[in-house]
C-alpha cells in the first residue's frame, strides 16, 4: 500500500502543480472570449456576499466582488483592492493603501468610504455575517483619505491581513449598504471581474465580463454560467457528455471515472478539511482521556482513507492542523491497535467495554460511512457502537453541539488561529468538546498577537502538543478537494479552502 502521509515538500509540490501549471499555460497567450459553463449540485440561494455560506455561492461572489486582500495559493494574503498594507503599534493598527481608479459595476468610484461602510456592516450583529467573528477585534475603522483606510484593533493581531480576506468580508459599495440589506441577495454590485446578468437560483446564474475590471486584460471569458444539477448522477452525465465545461465538486466515488474519461481533467488538491468524531468531555465516558485515547487507537486511519475516501486524502492523527497550515508540527502516527485500546479501556474502568450511540447526519454521505467503519473497527477493542443516521436538519437542531458522541465535518481555515478559535478554544465560535483548557486558550491568545515568526511557531507547536495530549477530537483523515474540467478549459483551479477560484484567469482554448 502506498503511504500517503504528507510531507511538507509533497504538499507544496501539490500546490505548485495545482497553481503553477495553470500559471504556465497563461504564458502561452490566453485566448479571449467564450462562455464557461460550471455545474454544481447545491443551490445558489443568495448572492448576499456578507451572509452567504453555500458551496456554489462562494465561486459566485469570488467573481462578483473583490476584498481588500485575497488568499493566495500558499494561503497568505495577496493584494486585491488594497495594493499594500502596514501593521504598526505591535499589530494593533493596520493601514491599507487602496487601488485608484476602481469602479463598482454600476459605475460608482470605489473609495475608502466603501471599505469603512462594509466593515461597519459586518460588525453589526444584526447583519449576522460569518465574517464577524473573524474580524471582531476591530475597534474602529476610518478613512484617512479616499485611498487609505486604517483599522484600530483591540488586540495585537498578526493575521489581520488574512482575516480581511474572508470570503464574506468583500467590499460592498456604501451606497448599496445605505439601502435595505436584503437588496444584496439579488442585486450584487461589486468590483469583481464579472457582473451578474441573470439570477435564476433554481436553474442557472449567468455572469458577464466586467469591462472595467481593475486588472488590465482580464477576465478572458465573456461570460460564466453556473448550472444547478440537484441530482449528482445527472451532473456527472452532463459533464462527461461535454454539456458543461467544469464540475465544481466531484464525489470521491466518481473521481476515478471522471479522471479517466476522455477529454476530462480531474484535479485533486490536498486540503485540511476533515471528518471528526466529537466526544464531549463534560460527561462520561469521554470525561476520561484514556477512553478517548482508546477510541483513537481503535481507528484504522489508512483503511478509512482507502475505503471511504477512495485514497483521495491522507491519514491524520487527531491534529486539527494539516500540513497546509504554516505552523503544523509532525504528529506521531497513531497505530491501529485494538488490543492496546482494550487494555486502556479496562484501565479506565471499563473492562467489559463501552456501549454507546454515535450519531451521523446523512449529508454528506461520508459522515455515516466513517461512522459505520469506526463501529466495525472499534468492535474488537470493546466499543459497542450503535450508529444512528438522521436528516441533516434534525441533526443540526437536536444533536450538533448538544450530543456527546457524533460525527462532524469541517472545511479548512485560512490560519491556525482561525482553526483553533473556530472549534477548540473555550470561547470558540462552534465549541463542542467542553475541553475548556485554560492552558490552550492562553497559548492561542499569545500566538494570535505575536508578531515574531519563531515565537508564534513555538506557541502554536505547544498548542498542538496539548491537542495531541488531550485528544479532544478523533480526526482520522484530511480529505482532498476534488474538481474537474474539460480539456478546452485552461487555468481552472480550486484552492484548499474552496473560497477563492480566480476565474478571471480561466480561458477557453
Amino acid at each position: 500500500m502506498i503511504n500517503l502521509a504528507p510531507t511538507r515538500r509533497a504538499v507544496i509540490l501539490g500546490l505548485a502543480i495545482a497553481f503553477v501549471i495553470p500559471g504556465l499555460s497563461f504564458a502561452q497567450s490566453p485566448k479571449h472570449g467564450g462562455t464557461l459553463k460550471i455545474s454544481h449540485s447545491t443551490r445558489i440561494a443568495t448572492l448576499n456576499v456578507l451572509q452567504l455560506s453555500g458551496p456554489a455561492e462562494y465561486p459566485s461572489v469570488d467573481m462578483l466582488y473583490s476584498g481588500l486582500t485575497r488568499i493566495g495559493p500558499d494561503n497568505s494574503p495577496t493584494p486585491d483592492l488594497a495594493m499594500d498594507w502596514v501593521g504598526a503599534e505591535d499589530g494593533t493598527v493596520f493601514t491599507f493603501n487602496l487601488r485608484s481608479g476602481v469602479t463598482f459595476h454600476d459605475g460608482t468610484p470605489f473609495t475608502a468610504d466603501d471599505v469603512v461602510a462594509t466593515f461597519e456592516a459586518i460588525l453589526k450583529p444584526e447583519t449576522s455575517s460569518p465574517a464577524r467573528s473573524v474580524v471582531d477585534m476591530i475597534e474602529s475603522v476610518e478613512a484617512v483619505d479616499p485611498l487609505t483606510v486604517r483599522f484600530n484593533l483591540s488586540i495585537s493581531y498578526a493575521d489581520f491581513p488574512t482575516a480581511v480576506a474572508h470570503a464574506n468580508a468583500r467590499i460592498v459599495s456604501a451606497k448599496a449598504l445605505a439601502g435595505p440589506l436584503s437588496d444584496l441577495d439579488t442585486k450584487p454590485n461589486g468590483t469583481g471581474p464579472f457582473k451578474l446578468e441573470t439570477y435564476d437560483s433554481a436553474r442557472v446564474v449567468r455572469f458577464v465580463k466586467n469591462e472595467n475590471y481593475f486588472i488590465e486584460g482580464k477576465p478572458y471569458l465573456d461570460a460564466v454560467e453556473m448550472h444547478l444539477f440537484p441530482d449528482l448522477a445527472a451532473e456527472t452525465v452532463n459533464y462527461l457528455s461535454g454539456a458543461v465545461d467544469v464540475m465544481l465538486n466531484v464525489q470521491q466515488a466518481d473521481y476515478e471515472r471522471i479522471a479517466s474519461a476522455p477529454g476530462s481533467n480531474a484535479l485533486r488538491v490536498p486540503s485540511g478539511r476533515f471528518v471528526n468524531v466529537v466526544m464531549r468531555q463534560d460527561q462520561p465516558p469521554f470525561d476520561d482521556v484514556r477512553v478517548r485515547k482508546a477510541l483513537a487507537m481503535s481507528v484504522d486511519r489508512q483503511t478509512l482513507v482507502d475505503i471511504v475516501l477512495e485514497g483521495l486524502g491522507r491519514p491524520a492523527n487527531d491534529n486539527i492542523l494539516s500540513s497546509e497550515y504554516r505552523y503544523t508540527i509532525d504528529s506521531p502516527e497513531i497505530p491501529y491497535d485494538p488490543a492496546a485500546a482494550k487494555a486502556l479501556l479496562a484501565e479506565a474502568g471499563h473492562p467489559d467495554g463501552i456501549k454507546i450511540k454515535l450519531v451521523a447526519s446523512n449529508r454528506p454521505a461520508i459522515r455515516a460511512q466513517v461512522a459505520i467503519a469506526i463501529k466495525q473497527m472499534a468492535l474488537p477493542a470493546g466499543f459497542d457502537i450503535e450508529v444512528e443516521t438522521m436528516p441533516h436538519d434534525t441533526y443540526l437542531a437536536n444533536v450538533w453541539r448538544k450530543g456527546n458522541f457524533y460525527m462532524a465535518y469541517w472545511g479548512m481555515q485560512p490560519t491556525e488561529d482561525g482553526a483553533f478559535t473556530l472549534l477548540l478554544t473555550s470561547d470558540a465560535a462552534f465549541e463542542d468538546t467542553a475541553w475548556n483548557s485554560a492552558e490552550f486558550d492562553a497559548l492561542v491568545a499569545k500566538g494570535r498577537s505575536s508578531l515574531d515568526e519563531a515565537e508564534r511557531a513555538r506557541l502554536y507547536a505547544e498548542a498542538q502538543e496539548l491537542i495531541l495530549r488531550d485528544a479532544p477530537y478523533i480526526i482520522p483523515f484530511f480529505q482532498d478537494v476534488l474538481t474537474a474540467s474539460r480539456d478546452n478549459v485552461q487555468g481552472w483551479t480550486v484552492h484548499p479552502l474552496s473560497r477563492v477560484f480566480y476565474i478571471e484567469n480561466v480561458w477557453l482554448n
Binding site: 475505503i307 455515516a368 467503519a373 466495525q376 450508529v387 434534525t394
Partner: protein
C-alpha cells in the same frame, strides 16, 4: 395447496415464497461470511467464487448481507401488514355489524383517508414521528388500515343477512359471540387474500423508507437500505444495487402471485 400451484403464476409465487422462507429461517446459517465484516481488499467486486454475489463499498459480502437482511425485510412486511390487518378488520367488522350512522361516520372518515396514497401517508407519519424501523412499521400499518377496513366491512355486510347469523341472533347469542364465532370466521377469506397481496406492498414501502433513510438504520442489512448505500457506487459496481433490488422484487412478486392464486382459489366462479 395443490390447487394453488396448479396455475403457473401460483406455482411461481409459491416457489419464490419458499425461497424467501428458507432465507428467513436459515439465512444466518447459510451465509458464508459475517455480514458486517469488511474485506477491504475485495471492495465493489462482481460475483466470484469467493463472493457469489459480489461485495459492497466496504468489501462486505453481498450474499451474506442479503441472507441476513431477509429477516429484517420480511419481518417488516409481515409486521406492518399484520398490524394494519388487525386494526382494519376490527374497525371494518365493527362498522359492518353496527350499521346505521356509526357505519356511515367510520366509513366516510376512512374514505377520506383512502384518498391519500399509501406511500405519501406513510411518509407523512414517519416525518411526524421520526425515522426508525418501529415508526416506519407503524406508519405502514396505519396507511393500510382504511383499505383493510373497507374489505372487512363489505364481507361482513354480505354475511350479516345470512341464515346462520340470523339463527344465532334468534338463539339470543351476544353481539360479541356473533362477531367472533359467526362473522369473522366466514369473512376471513377475502381478508387473508388481501393481506397476502399487501405484504408485497409493505415490503416495497419498507424498502423505500430504508432507501430514503427513514426506516432501518445502518449498518442494518435491510434491503432498501442496502440499495441506498450502494447507489453512490452504482457506476463502479452495479451489483450492490442490483442484488438487493432484485431480492426486493422477488419477495414482492412472490407474495403478490401467491396472493392472486389464493384469491382465485377462493373465487367460486373461477373454480372448475
Amino acid at each position: 395447496m395443490s390447487e394453488l400451484i396448479r396455475t403457473p403464476p401460483g406455482a411461481v409465487g409459491a416457489l419464490l415464497l419458499a425461497l424467501i422462507i428458507v432465507a428467513v429461517l436459515f439465512g444466518p446459517l447459510l451465509a458464508p461470511y459475517d455480514p458486517q465484516t469488511f474485506y477491504t481488499t475485495v471492495r465493489l467486486q462482481g460475483p466470484s467464487a469467493d463472493h457469489w454475489l459480489g461485495t459492497d463499498q466496504f468489501g462486505r459480502d453481498l450474499l451474506s448481507r442479503l441472507l441476513h437482511g431477509s429477516r429484517a425485510t420480511i419481518a417488516f412486511g409481515l409486521g406492518a401488514t399484520g398490524l394494519g390487518v388487525c386494526a382494519g378488520s376490527l374497525i371494518g367488522v365493527s362498522a359492518g355489524v353496527a350499521g346505521g350512522w356509526v357505519d356511515s361516520i367510520i366509513m366516510r372518515t376512512l374514505d377520506g383517508l383512502l384518498a391519500v396514497p399509501d406511500l405519501l401517508f406513510t411518509l407523512l407519519i414517519v416525518t411526524m414521528l421520526g425515522g426508525g424501523t418501529g415508526h416506519a412499521m407503524l406508519a405502514v400499518a396505519v396507511a393500510f388500515t382504511p383499505g383493510m377496513a373497507r374489505i372487512a366491512r363489505s364481507s361482513v355486510l354480505s354475511i350479516r343477512e345470512r341464515e346462520y347469523v340470523l339463527a344465532a341472533v334468534a338463539r339470543g347469542e351476544s353481539q360479541g359471540y356473533i362477531i367472533l364465532r359467526e362473522v369473522i370466521p366466514n369473512a376471513i377469506g377475502p381478508i387473508v387474500v388481501e393481506a397476502t397481496i399487501r405484504v408485497s406492498f409493505a415490503i416495497m414501502i419498507g424498502a423505500t423508507l430504508g432507501f430514503l433513510g427513514l426506516g432501518a438504520q445502518p449498518p442494518s442489512t435491510e434491503w432498501g437500505l442496502m440499495v441506498a448505500e450502494a447507489r453512490q457506487f452504482m457506476f463502479r459496481s452495479p451489483w450492490g444495487v442490483a442484488v438487493p433490488g432484485l431480492a426486493i422484487a422477488v419477495a414482492a412478486l412472490g407474495f403478490n402471485l401467491f396472493g392472486d392464486a389464493l384469491r382465485d382459489s377462493f373465487d367460486p366462479r373461477r373454480r372448475r
